[in-house]
């Protein structure tokens, strides 16, 4: 499987006394869905921020063999834990449209694509409303739709199911399952990852303590206890 994302020996510390990530090495293959599981404070979000270059870490992050930088980061779709960090326009449609227009797409084409993305996320009927007026589940799906509208080659999701009820979790899972691009999902929702990810990495204390097929990794009770997940 051709690697889309290769992370090699990534280290990050907020200061010399607080090392957050140590020797992180993994890869994500083409079309592969990889989960990062870890307890609160394990370093999942920090890892995603480091991958995107929002935090300056040491080590190497390669995207299709190229060093990840300003040129390549635009090909990655990102869904933040809090959708309010991403959605700020007066209408939901504008939030989806904006990155498309910003890339120079013709307005009519951008409009069609945005509506298609909203259709896929079952949000067509609320597209005139601002994101702030939607339920959390709808906002999460909207953030995913906004990320997908740009046709990314890799999708990074930070805690996509945090604070969602069971039905919303299922809807988010359904919308992610049908995707064909590579996905990297940070979450502590074990059931969600089990049903969605081909492989799972277990992060504890800023280190990857195990990685392998999701069914196998997420079935190891001792390992999950060690990682503070159960």
């Amino acid at each position: 499987m051709k690697p889309v994302l290769e992370v090699d020996n990534l280290n990050y510390a907020y200061d010399s006394a607080r090392r957050v990530l140590s020797d992180i090495t993994f890869s994500v293959g083409e079309g592969e869905c990889v989960g990062i599981v870890g307890a609160n404070g394990a370093g999942k979000s920090t890892l995603l921020w480091c991958l995107l270059g929002l935090l300056k870490a040491t080590g190497s992050v390669r995207f299709f063999g190229e060093k990840l930088g300003k040129q390549t980061v635009g090909r990655i779709g990102v869904v933040f834990q809090n959708p309010e960090d991403q959605l700020f326009m007066p209408r939901l449609l504008d939030d989806i449209l904006l990155p498309l227009l910003n890339r120079g797409l013709l307005p009519q084409l951008a409009h069609e694509r945005a509506l298609a993305a909203l259709d896929k996320a079952s949000l067509r009927e609320v597209y005139e409303r601002p994101a702030a007026q939607l339920s959390l589940g709808e906002r999460k799906r909207a953030a995913i739709a906004a990320a997908l509208a740009g046709a990314p080659e890799l999708l990074l999701l930070d805690e996509p199911t945090a604070e969602l009820d069971g039905r919303s979790v299922r809807r988010v899972a359904e919308s992610l399952r049908t995707l064909t691009m590579s996905r990297l999902i940070a979450s502590h929702d074990l059931e969600f990852l089990r049903g969605l990810c081909h492989r799972t990495l277990v992060l504890a204390g800023g280190k990857i303590i195990a990685q392998g097929a999701s069914q196998e990794i997420l079935g190891q009770r001792v390992l999950l206890e060690q990682a503070g997940l159960i």
């Binding site: 990102v78 809090n82 960090d85 700020f88 007066p90 209408r91 504008d94 120079g104």
Partner: protein, 194 residues
């Protein structure tokens, strides 16, 4: 125009644009006025308008509280430094109220749809939307933190009321900064901050 937002008539949209512009001009004028009667009138007018827009006077007051606290600190520092207080704190509150009303009235969706992507006007509208979002972050965080404080203290002016207020304002700054940082990060990844 490529497509039109909402179901609002053009007349209504034009009225909202004019109303917002009048309020913005008033905010600029208030920033250079030092007559306290005028400033107080602007504050009362701004508060009344905010109350109408929010549908509740107490909500309008609550969302103005962080700015009032900031202005009070400013007045205190001026008094400590020179034993006199200028009209700057009042101006701060008045400018905030009038600008907040202008931002609330302005037809953002219609304007965004009407401007040509990539144009200077587009960038200006986007910039204004960023500011609007930052203002909304500040407002929503101030509501949450003051709500949390009111749940934590049983008597409004009982022991610890001032300490809890200072801690709430400090927490508000920290929370707003962290949310603003996340928002900036999200937008920079979408390529809007260059």
């Amino acid at each position: 125009m490529v497509f039109r937002a909402g179901h609002e008539s053009y007349v209504m949209t034009a009225l909202r644009v004019m109303g917002a512009l009048v309020l913005l001009v008033a905010a600029v004028m208030v920033a250079v006025v030092s007559n306290r009667t005028w400033l107080l009138s602007a504050i009362i007018g701004g508060l009344a308008l905010r109350a109408i827009m929010e549908g509740s006077f107490s909500r309008a007051l609550r969302s103005t509280l962080p700015v009032v606290i900031f202005a009070a600190l400013l007045a205190l520092m001026q008094w400590v430094a020179s034993q006199s207080v200028s009209s700057l704190p009042l101006r701060t509150i008045a400018v905030f109220l009038l600008s907040a009303c202008a931002f609330g009235i302005f037809p953002w969706a219609e304007t965004f749809s009407a401007v040509r992507p990539g144009s200077t006007l587009f960038a200006l509208v986007l910039f204004a939307l960023f500011i609007r979002h930052f203002a909304m972050i500040l407002t929503s965080e101030s509501r949450r933190v003051l709500q949390a404080r009111s749940l934590g203290i049983s008597r409004a002016y009982g022991p610890g009321w001032f300490r809890s207020l200072v801690a709430a304002v400090a927490a508000l700054i920290g929370r707003s900064l962290s949310r603003a940082e996340r928002f900036y990060a999200a937008q920079s990844l979408r390529g809007f901050t260059e």
